[in-house]
């Protein structure tokens, strides 16, 4: 009942010319004569759109992310198609609601592979959903491009068919943030995080990183992601705490931050948060005034920064973002800017990978994985507006810059940019040695 099934029109792409078509047909004909099994793919190759199965968190606790992941993906597909598509073929999003539910998303993998004949699956954010769906994608031999930021890809937990080339993972984000927290804010940290895989990535990696710097995590407070009332957790914060490190997700995030402000009153410690705690939430909501002067990690700045390059502005215009990071049509519809750029970049990586392996159809799915595994440095620009990236083919994970912003006058201003080098850590897996 909650399913939204939608197909993106091919856009304004012109199909390939007749000569091209004839040429392709001729190639197809030869191939068909030599290798009869190829025939069905070759026939479909010419103007057929490349179908991307988009598992969207349209409902459930990830719905606000899903809405923006959808908008960014639509905008990216429009741009790619306007620039000629992939080898002359347009991209087409086949959008399905996964309900932010692992079981439903695993079913979607099946639907994408067998029913809607998608070339690949794309788009999942919430880590429990990715972890639930990735094994099914591998069984179906369906390339699965996730935009999740969880460490589950690079940790080796998943498989050769699952890649994360558009957004950095929590481990590298946390590693890049720890020196700033330790040097600028304080050495005794209390962590507050959601009680599931994504939260544990934060807990384990940040605790290790801050200890390595000589600081200490004095308390770790896990909160279920479906929680609606938070004051009862805050007394667990030890009095000696110098810095609160918070990251929260789900429909209750605004309540979480508001109640944190009410708990501390005028005597708050330093506060460092991951913007996840306030993604899709207006920073000028009543009750958030106490955040003035606190710091946030941002994957990509929500507010348009004064020194933003032209390609960032172009990206924001294409997505429909105003200077405050809200929708141009509704100032209260605040984006998930720190994560959604990953969809844009992932779709561009898919395009580059398909062009590198001369992708012609679902028989080339394995070649697509191998082509993306070969990628490394990607320069900042219209395809990668968040910044330059370095992809690690062995761990299937991309690395990129991270931003620390301070709340000043109710807006987020970038005060520190961590470089790619700050985010690197030793490989924990080599997916390229695994079989398909």
């Amino acid at each position: 009942m909650t399913e939204t099934s939608k197909k993106t029109p091919a856009g304004t792409v012109r199909g390939p010319s007749r000569r091209q078509a004839l040429k392709t047909l001729a190639v197809g004909g030869t191939a068909a004569a030599t290798l009869p099994l190829w025939a069905r793919y070759a026939g479909a190759q010419t103007g057929e759109p490349i179908r991307i199965g988009f598992a969207k968190h349209a409902t459930g606790i990830g719905a606000s992310y899903g809405r923006w992941y959808d908008r960014v993906s639509q905008a990216a597909v429009k741009k790619i198609n306007a620039e000629g598509g992939v080898n002359g073929r347009p991209l087409e999003l086949v959008t399905e609601d996964d309900g932010t539910d692992p079981k439903r998303c695993a079913e979607l993998m099946e639907k994408f592979a067998n029913q809607s004949k998608c070339d690949l699956a794309f788009g999942t954010l919430f880590s429990h959903v990715v972890i639930g769906a990735a094994p099914r994608a591998a069984e179906l031999k369906l390339p699965y491009f996730v935009v999740s930021e969880g460490h589950h890809v690079a940790s080796g937990m998943l498989n050769r068919w699952t890649l994360q080339p558009g957004i950095t993972d929590v481990k590298s984000q946390v590693k890049a943030m720890a020196p700033f927290v330790h040097d600028t804010l304080g050495k005794k940290v209390t962590m507050i995080f959601p009680d599931y895989a994504f939260g544990y990535d934060h807990r384990d990696n940040f605790t290790a990183a801050i200890k390595a710097l000589g600081g200490d995590v004095v308390a770790q407070i896990a909160i279920p992601p479906t929680e609606t009332s938070f004051t009862k957790y805050f007394p667990k914060i030890p009095r000696e705490t110098e810095v609160i490190y918070h990251v929260m997700i789900g429909p209750g995030v605004l309540t979480f931050v508001k109640e944190m402000g009410e708990f501390f009153g005028p005597s708050r410690p330093e506060i460092f948060g991951f913007i996840d705690s306030l993604e899709a939430v207006n920073l000028s909501s009543p009750g958030l005034e106490f955040l003035e002067g606190t710091y946030f990690w941002e994957g990509m700045p929500r507010y348009l920064q004064p020194d933003a390059p032209g390609y960032v502005k172009a990206y924001r215009d294409a997505v429909g973002l105003d200077a405050n990071g809200a929708s141009v049509t509704d100032a209260n519809d605040v984006s998930t800017a720190a994560h959604m750029f990953g969809c844009w970049e992932t779709l561009h990586v898919i395009k580059a990978g398909m062009e590198a392996c001369n992708y012609s159809g679902i028989a080339d799915r394995q070649a697509l994985i191998e082509a993306v595994e070969q990628m490394s440095d990607m320069p900042a620009g219209p395809d990668h507006p968040q910044g330059a990236k370095r992809f690690n083919g062995k761990t299937h994970q991309v690395f990129g810059p991270q931003y620390i912003s301070k709340v000043e006058g109710g807006k987020l201003s970038v005060v520190h940019t961590a470089s790619i080098e700050d985010t690197l850590y030793p490989d924990e897996v080599d997916y390229t040695k695994m079989s398909f």
Binding site: T2, T59, S64, K232, P235, P251, G252, V253, P286, G287
Partner: protein, 308 residues
């Protein structure tokens, strides 16, 4: 945090939950007591109350206090009218058969939830509280100079949370008075006592049923309006609330208003305290265990009489 202030904070948080729960569960209990209908869609009426409150405050745009007062009036009326309509269109047709009404209200639950999803959307949206000052609470301590006051770090509540507790107390007292002292309350109790005899005495039972079902839903909606400035309106918020309400009415005794209130305070406070000192999951486990024990050893509930 020291044990004393910690406990006080836990009890304050628990009291807010207990207040909302008592309101909501008395609606559920009323419907069951009078109509013998187990209303599985009750949580959705609570959710609708919150959503309507959001809609009213957004459309009116008249400043936090006026907006909130309007929501407090409009939401229960709208939700109550919807429920009364559902009673006449669905439950009446099933002759209030206990098993079939359960299935029907499950269907109603999904219809209301999905309609909300399709119209209001999947986001959690905030409603501004009419007033929300942080109140730091003092704590007493035996020091060298005898009894002294101090303000422990983090021991605080907000004026709005205190208002929720007070509002629930007033509303429930009003409900009890209504049931005990008014003619309408008498008719409801008569219908509860013996439907056929009430009909014989000229009580329009079907109209009473529609009013009771609407009234029960309106109580849930009121609870939704009261909670929405603390939490946010979200289409899935009815689930947990329904579970807790059932726990409360089963422990208190289905159909017993006093039992419901005592059980709500018990569950609310224990949830607050256990969540703070241990984990919220343990609090839910203990509440569910309590239900199981009550069902085994005292199936009619702590305050429930023997059923006819």
């Amino acid at each position: 945090m020291d044990f004393g202030p910690y406990l006080m904070l836990a009890m304050l948080e628990g009291a807010v939950l207990a207040a909302v729960l008592a309101l909501m569960a008395s609606g559920l209990s009323l419907v069951f007591g009078v109509m013998r209908v187990v209303n599985v869609a009750h949580g959705e009426f609570y959710m609708l109350g919150a959503v309507v409150a959001w809609a009213v405050t957004t459309l009116l745009g008249a400043g936090p206090v006026l907006n909130f007062v309007a929501a407090l009036i409009v939401a229960p009326l709208v939700v109550g009218a919807m429920a009364a309509a559902a009673d006449m269109v669905i439950l009446k047709r099933l002759n209030y058969d206990p098993e079939r009404t359960i299935v029907a209200t499950i269907g109603l639950l999904y219809i209301l939830q999905q309609l909300t999803l399709m119209t209001y959307g999947a986001d959690a949206r905030p409603v501004v509280a009419p007033f929300n000052e942080r109140i730091a609470l003092p704590w007493v301590e035996w020091g060298d100079k005898g009894l002294s006051f101090y303000f422990p770090w983090g021991l605080s509540t907000t004026s709005y949370k205190l208002f929720v507790i007070a509002a629930a107390v007033v509303l429930i007292a009003a409900l009890k008075l209504f049931m005990a002292k008014t003619r309408a309350g008498l008719i409801m109790r008569a219908t509860q006592g013996d439907r056929e005899m009430a009909t014989a005495f000229g009580v329009p039972v079907e109209r009473v049923y529609a009013l009771v079902f609407g009234g029960g839903a309106a109580l849930a909606a009121l609870a939704g309006v009261l909670i929405v400035p603390i939490q946010q309106a979200h289409y899935l918020m009815g689930g947990d609330a329904l579970l807790l309400s059932f726990i409360v009415v089963i422990i208190g005794g289905l159909g017993s208003l006093s039992g419901t209130i005592v059980a709500a305070i018990l569950i609310g406070l224990s949830d607050g305290i256990i969540s703070v000192f241990f984990t919220p999951t343990l609090a839910k486990m203990i509440a569910t265990l309590a239900v199981a024990l009550v069902l085994v050893f005292r199936p009619q509930g702590l305050f429930g009489g023997t059923s006819r």
